[in-house]
């Protein structure tokens, strides 16, 4: 009986797992293999020559590669911290709502569901120069007399990009944290109130420590996600001006599909993969004890 069940289990799981192995795991190995070759589809006469670690050495000595890594890390750091802080504030505010919570939740889910490409285009429209909405508001309210030409300025271009990402993702982070907040025993707050603890003290002594696991999961998931940023930057700046806002995923995209350098592009892919994989492992370890290893009973 037990042995039959085991066999049945594997039979049922096999189709899905083999699909994953064939089209997700296989390609990763293939990319690692491909990254050791000189394979330039624009120059088919060169063939496909084994060059060892040459592609990696080229990447490591390429300033555009390091620039792209720097942009990705900076984008991840700024957007994820903003999203966590604002998301926590939004979650705490919504958690104590008594009426209309369903409506607010629908509103919060909307940005997450809007295609990232659309989000990028919407915010590009708002920041258009000279007469976009943002400039009208900034000039009209007297905050800035002379706003920058957002998408032509290597630094200012990050503002709309990060705003777009924060707009799309903060409500989602808030929803994750809200689920964590709702697991906290209400009686803890009542006891604290009887002891005369202030609202701020309740937040730091009860909410934050008990929310730490959810915060950590949100942090790591968002970081992994921010590390692969592509869509929003592609439609907003295309990585420009020049390569001033080019993240690593876009540099790889351009090596592969614009320059058709498959060996070199594969080396870049492997670098991204290893970096995100390490982050993902951390994420899974964090969740592990609570969801994964849960016994089947």
């Amino acid at each position: 009986m037990m042995r039959d069940e085991k066999r049945l289990g594997w039979t049922m799981a096999l189709p899905a797992l083999s699909v994953i192995a064939l089209i997700a795991l296989g390609p990763i190995l293939w990319a690692a293999w491909e990254s050791l070759y000189l394979h330039d589809l624009r120059m088919p006469w060169l063939g496909r020559r084994f060059i060892g670690a040459q592609n990696y050495i080229e990447a490591l000595s390429d300033p555009r590669f390091w620039g792209a890594i720097g942009h990705t890390l900076a984008f991840a750091a700024v957007s994820v911290s903003l999203e966590l802080v604002l998301g926590l504030a939004l979650a705490v505010a919504v958690d104590s709502m008594t009426r209309g919570r369903g409506l607010v939740r629908t509103a919060m889910l909307l940005p997450w569901a809007v295609p990232t490409v659309v989000v990028g285009l919407v915010w590009r429209f708002i920041f258009e120069t000279p007469a976009g909405l943002m400039n009208a508001v900034l000039v009209g309210s007297g905050v800035m007399a002379d706003p920058p030409i957002w998408f032509a300025d290597p630094e200012a271009a990050w503002v709309p990009i990060i705003l777009a990402d924060v707009w799309k993702t903060t409500p989602f982070v808030a929803l994750l944290l809200l689920a964590g907040l709702q697991n906290i025993e209400r009686s803890l707050y009542e006891a604290a109130q009887i002891d005369g603890a202030s609202v701020w003290r309740q937040f730091t002594a009860i909410t934050l420590p008990l929310l730490k696991p959810a915060l950590l999961v949100a942090l790591v998931f968002r970081t992994v996600d921010a590390f692969r940023v592509f869509d929003v930057i592609y439609v907003m700046t295309g990585g420009g001006p020049g390569t001033a806002t080019e993240p690593i995923a876009m540099y790889t995209f351009s090596a592969l599909l614009e320059n058709l350098r498959f060996g070199y592009g594969s080396a870049l892919s492997v670098v991204i993969f290893v970096a995100t994989f390490l982050l993902a492992l951390i994420a899974i370890r964090l969740m592990g004890r609570r969801t994964l290893i849960e016994p089947a009973s």
């Binding site: 289990g9 799981a13 990232t116 429209f125 892919s269 899974i284 969801t291």
Partner: protein, 274 residues
């Protein structure tokens, strides 16, 4: 936390944040009904006249209808493939004695976090070899890489939440595993299966990178690729882009309104609940 300053501050904060979320969508909706020449002039907050020019243009000149059709086919086919196959796998992982369960689940989760760009190069070479570049199958196959782990992960969560007693009673009565699955578990699982289908569809509908890499022209562009590549001869055709953006958002917004509660439950069960 009682009323007073905190209560007012809280309500104010919620109001500000909800407007910050909704206003850009509203603004774009209004702008998409505004004539091109007035887009960067005085756009009224409450429009007095709706102009449908941009919508006519995106469907007649830009072939957005084709893109919508392509997106529906690709997202629909991926969902229809993933949910049944993923459900079998998820049930086995959730309920059957399964040696190596933790390892399999960990790998599935890790794969769902793959950066898509890192498998573009091998997938491109593979699809080129199979002559599948710029075909529907050439999008469905790559989409399985993120959709299959996603469905498995979500459904394992749903199956674990089902009460075990019913299945055990049926098994006691001598029904086979598969029969139990078909007659007891499946009818109970419709909410989980539909939520998973909705989420998978959403992810496929919104996907951009693979569709950009593996299609070559408007005949096979999906909606996100089509609107990202709208170009004007002299200037950015903003009116059409915004109309296209609204068309791309409408289906997902409808799904969110219909299934808000379930989507939130599905998304948060894997990540937060222990």
């Amino acid at each position: 936390m009682t009323g007073g300053i905190w209560g007012i501050g809280r309500r104010l904060a919620i109001a500000v944040m909800v407007s910050a979320i909704l206003f850009p969508i509203y603004w774009v909706a209004v702008a998409s009904f505004t004539p091109e020449s007035q887009l960067f002039g005085q756009v009224d907050l409450v429009p007095t006249r709706l102009v449908f020019d941009h919508y006519r243009a995106v469907f007649s000149e830009r072939a957005l209808g084709t893109a919508v059709w392509n997106s529906l086919i690709v997202a629909g086919a991926t969902t229809l493939l993933c949910v049944p196959i993923g459900a079998l796998c998820a049930y086995a992982l959730a309920r059957l004695p399964f040696p190596g369960r933790t390892l399999v689940l960990t790998s599935v989760l890790a794969i769902s976090m793959f950066p898509q760009i890192s498998i573009v190069s091998p997938l491109y070479l593979l699809l080129r070899e199979l002559r599948l570049i710029d075909t529907y199958a050439g999008l469905v196959l790559p989409y399985l890489t993120f959709a299959m782990p996603l469905t498995i992960w979500l459904l394992v969560g749903f199956f674990r939440q089902l009460p075990r007693e019913l299945e055990e009673a049926a098994l006691m009565d001598g029904a086979s595993r598969l029969r139990t699955l078909w007659t007891i578990v499946l009818p109970l699982s419709w909410p989980g299966l539909t939520t998973t289908a909705i989420l998978t569809f959403l992810y496929c509908w919104n996907e951009f990178l693979f569709a950009l890499c593996f299609t070559l022209g408007p005949d096979r562009y999906t909606v996100p690729v089509a609107i990202a590549l709208f170009r004007g001869q002299y200037q950015v055709p903003w009116g059409q882009i915004l109309a296209g953006a609204l068309v791309a958002t409408l289906p997902v917004a409808m799904l969110v309104f219909l299934a808000q509660r379930r989507i939130v439950a599905g998304l948060t069960s894997g990540a937060v609940k222990g």
